[in-house]
């Protein structure tokens, strides 16, 4: 009986603490709101010098780099410096990639929104923005930062919608060939392949199969996991000289010889040359396979891969290198490139403070620092000219590719739907071709579906 009383007491105690905790959670929130209101008033008074004192901004970002701790430290430093020079406090929140899309969608359609956010799918988010919520047009900021020539062209594609800018480009991403130098040496291969023919030849030398022809050591692997072939195909399209869409982005242009050639090559690597496994396995990841020595070349590796390999598989140190991806004949573009912007939300109470933060965050100095900390490439032309990028052996391949690439994401409102994984028309077409469907038929079906969704 005594014990029961004790338990009852414990339960009550738990209840009380729980309730206070829940209440204090709300309290904090209200405090925040209060501060914001106060700061807004301050601004109203027109005291320009101290206008930003006590202003708080919320900044959402996705995780980058090899270790979450590095990103936190970098952001702590940047936000502290920023506070010192402007008086604005930036509270950052790192939202994981799995929830980022929902959160930004809800933020743009009237849900909880930050003041400033690291976004993607800009066209979609602009389209779903309402009168009160969503992305704020910031042509003035872009103008102040030097206009569109400040960034690589992929940057404009992703930040500018119908001539209006809704974000400032920051990170940049392109794809290279990652290869195991030791495997190359053992197979007697002197240099990284530059054409598709050389790629196949190399991979065939490196691939090992068992008696049934099943691959036991793959010469080549696509970087994208779970059978997501679309990304690989986009690069191949560039390498065969094809384009996804015309220049005004009004029509799809992959139903051409080049487009078919790229699809054929994608499928042949798996089915014909047997140098690459189909990798539809949810647990198959090209990079971890590369680290474990199961794969000699990864098609489409990204900038941060180097640090991932060094931290997770130290035994690989000194045994890998990067090179621009091979192209059909060695003369075409090497790969696709992506860029992503930083945007301000309409719901912000302090648009001016938010703009200050965007300008600071996207400045060359900070971007170079972040590129180094988070192993990212940058959209800013000047940042990419820094010796950090041009003189580094690993990053050299990326610098080269960056200047010889084409856009990977199309600036379309419905792009996220057209390229939705796994069931969007484009990934679906690639998967079908790899699974043996006739290329002409697959393209036709895909174009029909694209038409139906609209763009």
């Amino acid at each position: 009986m005594k014990r029961k009383k004790l338990v009852a007491l414990g339960l009550t105690l738990a209840m009380v603490t729980g309730m206070t905790a829940a209440c204090s959670g709300t309290q904090e929130k209200e405090d925040d709101a209060g501060k914001n209101a106060v700061s807004a008033e301050n601004e109203g008074d027109g005291e320009e010098a101290a206008a930003y004192d006590g202003v708080e901004l919320t900044f959402w970002m996705q995780p980058y780099g090899t270790d979450p701790a590095i990103q936190r430290k970098a952001l702590d430093k940047i936000t502290e410096d920023f506070k010192e020079s402007t008086g604005i406090t930036v509270n950052y929140a790192i939202n994981d990639w799995n929830s980022a899309n929902q959160k930004l969608t809800l933020a743009c359609t009237g849900g909880e929104a930050p003041d400033v956010a690291d976004i993607f799918f800009t066209n979609s988010f602009v389209e779903m923005s309402t009168e009160e919520a969503g992305l704020l047009e910031i042509n003035d900021v872009v103008e102040e930062m030097g206009g569109e020539d400040t960034w690589l062209s992929a940057g404009k594609d992703e930040a500018c919608v119908d001539g209006d800018w809704y974000g400032v480009p920051w990170r940049f991403d392109t794809r290279v060939l990652l290869y195991n130098t030791e495997d190359f040496k053992n197979a007697g291969i002197a240099k990284a392949p530059e054409t598709w023919e050389e790629l196949v030849e190399c991979a065939q030398k490196l691939t090992e199969t068992d008696a049934n022809g099943k691959i036991t050591h793959a010469g080549l692997a696509w970087y994208s996991d779970m059978g997501r072939y679309d990304q690989t195909w986009f690069s191949m399209l560039a390498q065969s000289g094809g384009t996804m869409m015309n220049e005004d982005f009004t029509e799809f242009t992959f139903d051409t010889e080049e487009g078919k050639k790229a699809l054929q090559f994608l499928s042949d690597c798996i089915n014909e040359y047997n140098i690459c496994s189909s990798s539809v396995d949810a647990s198959y990841d090209a990079l971890t396979e590369f680290m474990s020595g199961n794969v000699s070349m990864v098609f489409g590796a990204t900038g941060e891969n180097k640090n991932s390999i060094l931290s997770s598989a130290p035994q690989m140190e000194g045994k890998f290198a990067s090179a621009p991806l091979p192209t059909a004949t060695g003369k075409e573009k090497n790969a696709i490139a992506f860029s992503a912007p930083i945007a301000i939300m309409k719901t912000t109470k302090n648009p001016d403070a938010a703009k200050e933060w965007v300008k600071y965050f996207c400045s060359e100095e900070i971007q170079l620092y972040l590129s180094q900390q988070l192993s990212l490439l940058n959209s800013n032309v000047n940042v990419m000219k820094d010796p950090y990028f041009t003189e580094d052996e690993w990053l050299g391949a990326f610098s080269k590719t960056a200047s010889n690439s084409q856009s990977g994401d199309m600036p379309l409102t419905t792009w996220s739907q057209l390229d939705a994984w796994p069931d969007g028309p484009i990934p679906n077409m690639c998967a079908k071709v790899v699974n043996g469907e006739d290329i002409d038929k697959a393209i036709e079906e895909c174009l029909d579906k694209l038409e139906k969704i609209g763009y």
């Binding site: 959670g25 680290m291 990204t302 598989a313």
Partner: protein, 282 residues
């Protein structure tokens, strides 16, 4: 002869339990092995079944990589609050159904409770988000607690009602009523203290629901300060869906699972005895 058979029986009994344990423990074995392997042995295939030497650096590194301590604190606050509130609501509701509603209508109320279970959580996510947001509760514990409590209450009510039906004799309350106690006092002073076993088992269900929930937490909460552990290990997953931090993820997994395992290892006795005293009699 008979004795021999009995020994075989007992050996067989443990053998079967052992085999099932292998199935149950397989993931934990692999979490621990991966966590203590030297880094260069993690990304090796075919993978080695045991580490060549033990390395415990991951156990320290993981706390620096992600704010695991904060996540745990967040989870604990949310789960305990949810447990407390669900128990209060479910006990009140279950008692009322058990005592004041006609037998026939009782079945009906249970059917209603079942109907709430038909609703897949994923379906209501968007509408619920905007309700909670408009109440000003997005990115707060309050918002998350409201939803968890409402999800836990129907099942908890079912259990606690069963307990009141079967384990608490009505005569006790009737005599209290004759003595002039109000209904609410009868409930609190007489009925509640002797229902603790049933309440504990109900509480456990609510706690586990809150501790494990993923989707709602991932939509409603942003930032390290609010995140619970059930969402926490997504921190390791990169932009391209790849996770190269296998060992650290496994280590985080161990720390995330451990508190709940310890708590429920000790509580399982109460869970089962509370249930069998009445909660499961339907």
């Amino acid at each position: 002869m008979k004795k021999k058979k009995k020994i075989f029986g007992i050996a067989g009994h443990y053998l079967v339990l052992g085999i099932i344990s292998v199935f149950v423990l397989l993931p934990y074995y692999w979490m621990i092995v991966t966590a203590v392997k030297p880094t260069e042995e993690v990304m090796v295939s075919p993978s080695t079944l045991l580490p060549s030497r033990l390395e415990f650096s991951n156990f320290f590194k993981v706390w620096e990589s992600i704010p695991l301590g904060t996540y745990m604190k967040n989870s604990l606050i949310v789960s305990v609050t949810v447990t407390a509130l669900s128990v209060v609501l479910a006990t009140l509701c279950g008692y009322s159904i058990s005592r004041f509603i006609q037998r026939r209508a009782q079945k009906f109320s249970l059917v209603l409770m079942l109907c709430t279970q038909l609703i897949p959580g994923i379906v209501t996510m968007v509408s619920l988000y905007f309700i909670v947001y408009n109440l000003g509760f997005s990115n707060t514990y309050t918002g998350i607690v409201i939803a968890y409590v409402a999800w836990a209450v129907p099942f908890c009510t079912l259990m606690i009602k069963g307990y009141f039906d079967a384990a608490i004799p009505r005569e006790i309350e009737e005599s209290a009523r004759v003595d002039g106690c109000s209904q609410i006092r009868t409930f609190f002073d007489i009925c509640l203290p002797i229902s603790v076993p049933g309440i504990i088992s109900t509480a456990i269900f609510a706690f586990i629901l809150a501790w494990n929930e993923y989707m709602w937490a991932s939509i409603l909460l942003s930032g390290d300060k609010m995140k619970p552990v059930s969402v926490g290990i997504y921190d390791f997953i990169g932009q391209y869906g790849a996770n190269t931090k296998m060992a650290l993820t496994m280590t985080a997994g161990i720390f995330i699972t451990l508190p709940a395992v310890i708590i429920f290892g000790f509580l399982q006795k109460h869970l089962i005895s509370g249930l069998s005293a009445g909660a499961v009699k339907g």
